[in-house]
């Protein structure tokens, strides 16, 4: 019948789109969840096959012209090692988080709108996948709005409908819309100057027409795209929306967002900075490298210190996420091979580690109903597997050897040292790890070496439905810490192609 292989790029987006809409017809109870799991599982399968297809192809790239319109005029899906990798992350983490979501959603979301919740959930994943797969600048904006709208709604559902979730969501909505508008504006400026919307076409125009890069219009387009993307990916100091959103969102949503949403934001930055403007413009002619490096360094340090001061563990992890994003930004702002490779690898590594940690916290919330530092006291004994997952994830954030976090740090520090005068940056990366030690260790101490508060009822280990997804991600963080040849290979390939300008 249909040759799936030939249509993989579009199936990755349309299958969850159609399926997501059908979710509202699945009724109540476990059915919407099962359907969503099936959908995300299918998507995950597609992303794996697409990854294999990209790796096998001679050009290192798979292109799909939607509606069979030539790419300059229609919309093109263009998948290279970089976005195949991000798709794999979104697909995989999306699938695993969906499995995880069942119990926590049952507990936190009113039963009469579970089908709508999962519909929005699947559409959010669709939006993220769509942003990643496309090669058309305006298509990015549309899909960005889908993922944003769905995420606003998901956050607003709130843990036990906490009212803080509403303000968190609205604040994100306003900042997110301003950010998206900046992106729209940047795309408009670029379109006006280049006459096209296809990313590769834009790049070719920017490269081939002499003098165009000095134009003030391109310069302003660049600045506004950067600002918009900074807001979307919660780059310090444009991260104001993130801590609240992650804190008050339902547990499963926090896990999904932490692992995928900001990552896709970073991916967009990759595409705009490297694929469209090209590394020579973004980091040669513009001072953006310096600006980004400063923001990233400040972000790593400031949010690290802020995370230490939090008593709410979800908020702590949220600040930590902003800091970890700093690593990713720092990596690609270095604009050298190992820096970018570190950045790409950290996208994956942070997704699995932080996803797993948020799942562990979700399990703690599921059992104790709280997630402050006191609620984990003595839990090391009562919920050994959950807390062990949290600890291992924390070791990853620290960058402990044989965890995934170490691999990213290895590349990042190497990238810093390759940059002339990059020593202070390497120091920032390493000091960031130390801050991670402090905030992770507070939890470890409380969980393993302190007794539970008197009067708190003892709790059981988290249910298997939560433990399995949690440990899948944490297990992945260990596996890809011990054997990072796969991630390392992909990251280096992606970095090379980004530096070469062509995807």
């Amino acid at each position: 019948m249909v040759d799936v292989q030939a249509h993989l790029p579009v199936l990755i987006v349309t299958v969850p789109l159609i399926g997501g809409i059908l979710t509202i017809a699945t009724g109540r109870g476990w059915k919407p969840w099962a359907w969503a799991t099936f959908l995300t599982g299918t998507v995950f399968y597609f992303t794996i096959r697409l990854m294999m297809q990209v790796l096998a192809s001679k050009t290192g790239m798979v292109s799909y012209e939607l509606g069979n319109w030539p790419r300059q005029w229609g919309i093109e899906y263009r998948v290279d090692a970089l976005n195949a990798f991000i798709l794999l992350i979104v697909g995989g983490v999306g699938f695993i988080t969906t499995i995880y979501a069942k119990l926590s959603v049952e507990k936190e979301i009113p039963a009469d709108r579970v089908n709508f919740f999962y519909a929005v959930w699947v559409l959010a994943i669709t939006g993220l996948l769509g942003i990643t797969v496309t090669g058309d600048a305006f298509n990015v904006y549309v899909l960005l709005e889908i993922s944003s709208l769905t995420v606003y709604a998901l956050i607003a559902m709130g843990k036990d409908m906490h009212r803080g979730a509403l303000t968190a969501s609205l604040r994100y909505l306003i900042l997110g819309s301003v950010g998206a508008s900046f992106i729209l504006l940047g795309i408009g400026y670029l379109m006006m100057i280049t006459g096209t919307l296809n990313m590769q076409d834009m790049h070719d125009r920017l490269m081939s027409v002499p003098g165009i890069l000095e134009s003030r219009t391109v310069l302003v387009a660049f600045a506004f795209l950067l600002a918009g993307l900074g807001m979307k990916m919660a780059m310090f100091p444009l991260h104001m929306w993130l801590p609240r959103a992650y804190t008050y969102a339902p547990s499963a949503v926090s896990a999904l967002l932490a692992a995928t949403a900001t990552k896709v934001g970073v991916y967009m930055a990759f595409r705009f900075l490297f694929t469209i403007f090209g590394v020579g413009f973004s980091f040669g002619m513009m001072p953006s490298g310096l600006v980004l490096l400063l923001c990233a360094s400040a972000g790593i340090l400031v949010t690290g210190v802020t995370a230490i001061r939090q008593t709410n563990l979800k908020r702590m992890l949220a600040y930590s996420s902003v800091g970890q994003l700093g690593y990713i930004v720092l990596g690609f702002a270095l604009a050298n091979l190992h820096g970018i490779a570190g950045s790409v690898a950290h996208i994956f590594n942070h997704a699995v580690m932080k996803g797993g940690m948020f799942m562990a916290l979700g399990a703690v919330v599921y059992r104790t109903g709280r997630c402050d530092i006191r609620s984990v006291r003595g839990l090391g004994k009562q919920m050994p597997l959950t807390l062990a997952a949290f600890t291992v994830g924390g070791l990853g954030l620290i960058g402990f050897p044989l965890t995934a976090g170490f691999i990213s740090k290895w590349y990042l520090v190497q990238g810093c040292l390759e940059r002339p005068g990059g020593w202070p940056l390497a120091a920032v990366v390493l000091i960031g790890s130390l801050l991670a030690v402090v905030y992770t260790w507070r939890v470890v101490e409380a969980a393993y070496f302190q007794e539970p508060d008197p009067g708190t009822p003892p709790v059981e280990e988290a249910p298997l439905m939560m433990l399995i997804p949690m440990w899948t991600l944490i297990g992945a963080s260990i596996y890809f810490g011990i054997n990072a040849t796969f991630t390392g290979h992909i990251a280096l390939t992606a970095a090379r192609s980004l530096l070469g300008g062509a995807p």
Binding site: I21, G67, W73, R113, V120, L143, L149, R205, P210, G211
Partner: protein, 401 residues
């Protein structure tokens, strides 16, 4: 030409004044109504700039839906803004001034307003329009322009441009622009050159649309960038579902619905009863006619929604629910997107790429393109109308609690 600029200048001044008023006025109802005025003025601006489809949409959305939404919200929240302690928010003013300055800085290198030689007018879009689609000259499918096709030669297709000699005053700015210096804006007059006249033979005769539908906006919207439009529909769907998730509460059976207060108004009742079928018909017309003139699924959908909303206002929501029970509305909301994506999937199943309408030629020979576009327009229409209705219902239910 000058008339466009003249009207434009005046309208935009009005728009700006309205915008300031919207922000500064303290009564929120006034603000909402001014928003409506603002949108209508904007619609005029769009018309002045020949963007009929956008004007139609702006009038429907800004003048209609947004206002309904705002008023609906104001009913449940507040009438007035809290008086502010400070008159001018200095932080905001500084941020705004800086951002604005940056944007203005970027405008200096832009092609001037209406300049026919701006890249956007002679690069991809003209090529696209010169492309052949559908059954043309007996061959099926899409063909790129022939080898050696000069995009700029499209100007001869775009008629008058080539025949209008450049006014040296108008083009003076180009000398100072880096863009012009490096050839991104082509200074020489094309078409008058023999070489381009020769290139002209690749072009299609002027009475042929190369298989495109006459309204090139629809052509782009539903065909070339049909995939974007599918997601645009999904955005609406998402908004609808989000609203259900956020606002809907379990419906209590047997709850006394407010009777329709307007039902006693005979004139209203009779007139609306008579006009509702026509509004519906007009909505369908707008959707179907989108290929030929301004309009399309979105605008038509809004019109249809208005018909239902009018019905609900006059006859009460129970009456509406008898026609369209809420679960049906929910399902129809999704159905629209499904029709759209289903059309795309059908193309895929028929052996083409996703949304490759030429595959539908097997269903209706020679008219696959048109069939596909009509189908997706209906998809958009269904989702838009049902989401709008749903939003109205949610807000109205909020009120009746």
């Amino acid at each position: 030409m000058t008339s466009v600029v003249l009207i434009d200048t005046v309208l935009l001044l009005l728009v700006t004044v309205t915008a300031i008023a919207i922000i500064e006025v303290r009564n929120l109802y006034t603000s909402a109504m001014l928003t409506s005025v603002y949108s209508l003025l904007m619609a005029l601006v769009w018309v002045n700039m020949h963007s009929m489809d956008v004007a139609f949409t702006e009038a429907a959305v800004g003048g209609g839906i947004s206002t309904i939404l705002l008023i609906g919200t104001l009913v449940h929240t507040a009438r007035e803004e809290k008086p502010l302690k400070v008159r001018v928010h200095w932080k905001a003013a500084v941020v705004t001034a800086l951002t604005g300055a940056a944007l203005i800085y970027g405008t200096f290198d832009m092609p001037r307003f209406g300049d026919p030689k701006a890249p956007i007018h002679h690069f991809r879009v003209p090529e696209m329009m010169a492309q052949t689609v559908g059954f043309v000259n007996g061959t099926k499918g899409k063909q790129a322009p022939p080898e050696g096709f000069d995009a700029r030669a499209y100007r001869s297709f775009n008629g008058a441009v080539t025949s209008v000699p450049d006014d040296p005053k108008d083009t003076a700015w180009r000398e100072t622009s880096v863009l012009a210096q490096h050839g991104i804006i082509v200074p020489e007059v094309l078409g008058s050159h023999p070489q381009h006249a020769e290139a002209g033979h690749h072009l299609h005769p002027p009475d042929d649309f190369n298989g495109h539908v006459p309204n090139s906006v629809t052509s782009l919207l539903a065909a070339y960038r049909g995939y974007d439009t599918m997601f645009e529909t999904t955005v609406i769907f998402t908004a609808g579902v989000s609203l259900i998730m956020l606002l809907r509460r379990p419906r209590r059976e047997g709850q006394a619905q407010k009777s329709a207060p307007l039902l006693d108004q005979t004139i209203l009742r009779v007139v609306s009863k008579m006009s509702i079928p026509f509004i519906l018909l007009f909505g369908l017309y707008v959707i179907t006619h989108g290929e030929l003139g301004p309009g399309g699924g979105f605008q038509g959908g809004v019109v249809i929604a208005c018909a239902f909303i009018l019905y609900a206002l006059i006859f009460g929501r129970p009456a509406l629910y008898r026609v369209l029970p809420p679960p049906v509305i929910d399902m129809l909301t999704g159905l629209g997107v499904l029709v759209y994506s289903g059309t795309g999937a059908a193309c895929l199943l028929l052996g083409g790429k996703f949304l490759d309408y030429s595959m539908l030629d097997t269903v209706s020979p020679g008219e696959g393109e048109a069939l596909g576009m009509t189908l997706v327009e209906y998809g958009v229409g269904i989702t838009v109308s049902m989401v709008m209705l749903n939003i109205f219902n949610q807000l109205a239910e909020e009120e009746s609690r």
